[in-house]
């Protein structure tokens, strides 16, 4: 059993009591609500004649179904189902006095982008949302968990969830990232090493030099994909980087209150002598950018590695999964992902839809143009991100290069709005899931990568090493290198 970790401390502070089924009743300090998983929960509350217990701990926005084309955001929304969902959410938040960041609020966006940038997510909190990527908020040193709709009902009615404490795995990320390699590559490397179900029963504590060096937006990207490794939550101990990020944000405490709160934040950090259930080391020195070749985020290689032979996997299930993946992706073992043709470039999402992601991509796109065979979408993670990017003129760089510059939403990550893959299109995507059908077409193919690689793929019309555009001196690999290596 872990001891004196941030997870233990935050859990203890929020633990209300033990329930008769052996689970703990845990208070939720921040509950984020969106239109897809909440209407059924509000209906259950009405059915039971129960009121929302702590309305001020709840914040809502709309993201999954949000149209990203400006003209389609006029009300009523042209998509009737989307309009019904949005109207239901508006009704529910109004009736229950819940703060709502609507389409015209200027703050609307993906829950996991909005809450961090407004200073709602802070260290030492418990955060829940009816969305598996709630692990994102762990970047601040909080426990963020995705929940189902019945648990949303629990939170609305009682302010709490019933939960079992997990084991804590410390992931020590050694080394330092080279030019053109990013936080996204770190988390993909971790999932490659530990597998898509390696984290089941665990929360991940990310630490070590490579994590310390990351800015908050990079840390958010790492924690975001904890769930893709099977870990329901992942977190990073707060430090000066965290506090500097929080200072001055709309909902963050100000002045003396900030310094007082800091004492609490410091106090919940894992102790020097903390005990972990398990410690794993991942070395990212000399790591090349990562790219997926399959249909789950663990089917991923460094650009210098070929698509693996199914036989190379020890576990039977991994071998079978590799066979299915090769067939779906129309790839052969031993091939390089470099040169894999791309039809769509998608930049955005709760993983990589923040200002720094668009900055990195814009540097590559500046003075270059998107290949004529590629449909390219830049979808800011929130309206705040969009406005900040526009204030820096990034939108012009994207538009000039041939990208469509959109409004905020989940967009083509899961295609609940109009943004979708068609047929067998291949998408170079900064999102988090390459599941079959995820981007709206069951024949569609998703290749997960960093925002820099998405921009590079858009320009090249194929998967390419982004470092050739980032830094003249950076090491790059080409398909022939990989084949030689094989």
């Amino acid at each position: 059993m872990s001891k004196h970790t941030l997870y233990d401390k935050v859990w203890e502070r929020h633990r209300v009591t033990e329930l008769p089924n052996g689970q703990d009743q845990l208070f939720v300090g921040l509950h984020l609500i969106h239109e897809v998983t909440s209407p059924q929960a509000f209906a259950m509350l009405t059915e039971r004649d129960i009121e929302v217990a702590y309305p001020e701990r709840n914040y809502a926005t709309t993201d999954h179904i949000a149209p990203t084309e400006a003209a389609k955001r006029e009300r009523p929304l042209p998509d009737e189902e989307a309009e019904e969902m949005l109207s239901a959410l508006e009704r529910n938040v109004a009736e229950n006095d819940i703060t709502f960041f609507g389409l015209d609020s200027g703050k609307q966006g993906i829950t996991h982008v909005v809450a961090p940038e407004l200073g709602l997510s802070r260290p030492g909190m418990t955060v829940a949302c009816g969305d598996s990527h709630t692990s994102t908020h762990g970047a601040f040193g909080s426990i963020g968990v995705g929940v189902g709709t019945s648990q949303i009902r629990d939170i609305l009615a009682t302010g709490c969830i019933a939960a079992e404490k997990q084991q804590v795995r410390r992931i020590e990320v050694e080394g330092s990232l080279g030019a053109g390699v990013y936080a996204k590559d770190i988390i993909l490397k971790i999932i490659q090493d530990l597998g898509v179900d390696g984290g089941v029963g665990h929360v991940y504590e990310y630490g070590g030099p490579a994590i310390r060096e990351l800015d908050m937006e990079g840390r958010l990207a790492v924690c975001n994909m904890s769930i893709e490794g099977g870990a329901r939550a992942g977190y990073i101990n707060p430090d000066e980087t965290t506090y500097e990020y929080l200072r001055g944000r709309e909902y963050a405490p100000e002045g003396e209150a900030f310094d007082e709160r800091r004492e609490y934040w410091d106090s919940i950090c894992s102790d020097e002598d903390a005990v972990y259930d398990d410690v794993v080391t991942v070395d990212v020195d000399d790591m090349d950018p990562m790219v997926t070749w399959g249909i789950n985020p663990g089917q991923v290689v460094e650009l210098s590695e070929p698509v693996p032979q199914p036989d190379s996997f020890v576990a039977r299930s991994d071998r079978e999964a590799a066979e299915r993946a090769l067939e779906h992706m129309d790839l052969d073992p031993g091939e390089s992902m470099l040169g894999y043709d791309v039809d769509v470039a998608f930049l955005g999402t709760c993983t990589n839809g923040r200002v720094s992601d668009f900055e990195v991509a814009a540097e590559i796109l500046d003075g270059r143009t998107v290949d004529e065979s590629v449909r390219a979408l830049a979808v800011p993670g929130s309206e705040t991100v969009r406005k900040r990017c526009e204030a820096r003129g990034l939108d012009e760089t994207f538009i000039k290069a041939g990208f469509q510059w959109r409004r905020a939403g989940c967009s083509m990550c899961l295609a609940m709005n109009d943004d979708s893959l068609e047929g067998g299109e291949v998408c170079a995507s900064s999102s988090n899931r390459n599941f079959v059908g995820r981007q709206g077409s069951k024949e569609g193919r998703t290749v997960l990568m960093s925002p820099a690689m998405v921009a590079a793929a858009a320009v090249a019309g194929e998967v390419t090493d982004p470092r050739r555009f980032v830094d003249d001196a950076a090491r790059t690999v080409s398909a022939t290198d990989v084949e030689v290596a094989e």
Binding site: P20, T37, Q40, G148, I227
Partner: protein, 200 residues
């Protein structure tokens, strides 16, 4: 909570849904979540996998084992998104219990919220059960929640059920809202000790 919420055993015919890492996007594709209730979810269960390119129903197990109550699945079933739409769709289609090699955590929690026992057994046992089902679509399977076993064809297989799920089902206390609602005073005490709550 009343005794009629207790679930000690579930049973009926079974449906094998083979494959590891079956994610919730396969179980319930996102485009079908654009509804404000779960009422129609059964019709969308494994929507894409159950259909050919021309939209006609194919030979997917769910099309061949209609009326089944027990789904038999493999490793890491229900990974990915937290959508309760997935187990809701299974429940509304008729699934009362799931036997698998392993489950993703949020999926398992969602099953618990709905009173659906999710029991694990080892690979050989699950595959043997799936193979038996292919030959015995009308054969009965029973999941015993009390001892975590799976019985079929005069055989009893050792299984494992997560202890919180087991307690919740056997005690009829899987509706956690009701369970936690009575602790409001205790919640208030926890909240008062949290430095970040009042001054927000």
């Amino acid at each position: 909570m009343s005794n009629d919420q207790r679930i000690t055993a579930v049973g009926g015919t079974g449906v094998p849904i083979p494959g590891d890492d079956i994610d919730t996007d396969q179980i319930l594709p996102a485009r079908f979540m654009k509804e404000v209730t779960f009422d129609n979810m059964a019709g969308y269960l494994f929507y894409d996998a159950r259909r050919d390119e021309d939209g006609a129903l194919n030979d997917h197990p769910l099309n061949r084992f209609e009326g089944a109550s027990i789904a038999v699945v493999n490793q890491n079933f229900g990974c990915g998104s937290s959508r309760e739409h997935a187990p809701q769709a299974m429940m509304r289609w008729g699934v009362d219990g799931v036997v698998g090699e392993s489950f993703a955590e949020i999926f398992r929690d969602n099953c618990k919220s709905l009173g659906i026992p999710a029991v694990t057994a080892d690979h050989e046992a699950v595959v043997a059960l799936q193979e038996w089902l292919q030959d015995n679509p009308d054969g009965d399977i029973e999941i015993d929640v009390e001892d975590g076993t799976i019985s079929y064809d005069n055989r009893t297989v050792e299984g494992h059920i997560d202890s919180a799920m087991q307690e919740a089902l056997l005690g009829g206390i899987w509706d956690t809202t009701a369970l936690m609602y009575s602790n409001r005073a205790k919640v208030e005490r926890t909240v008062q000790d949290l430095p970040y709550v009042e001054s927000n």
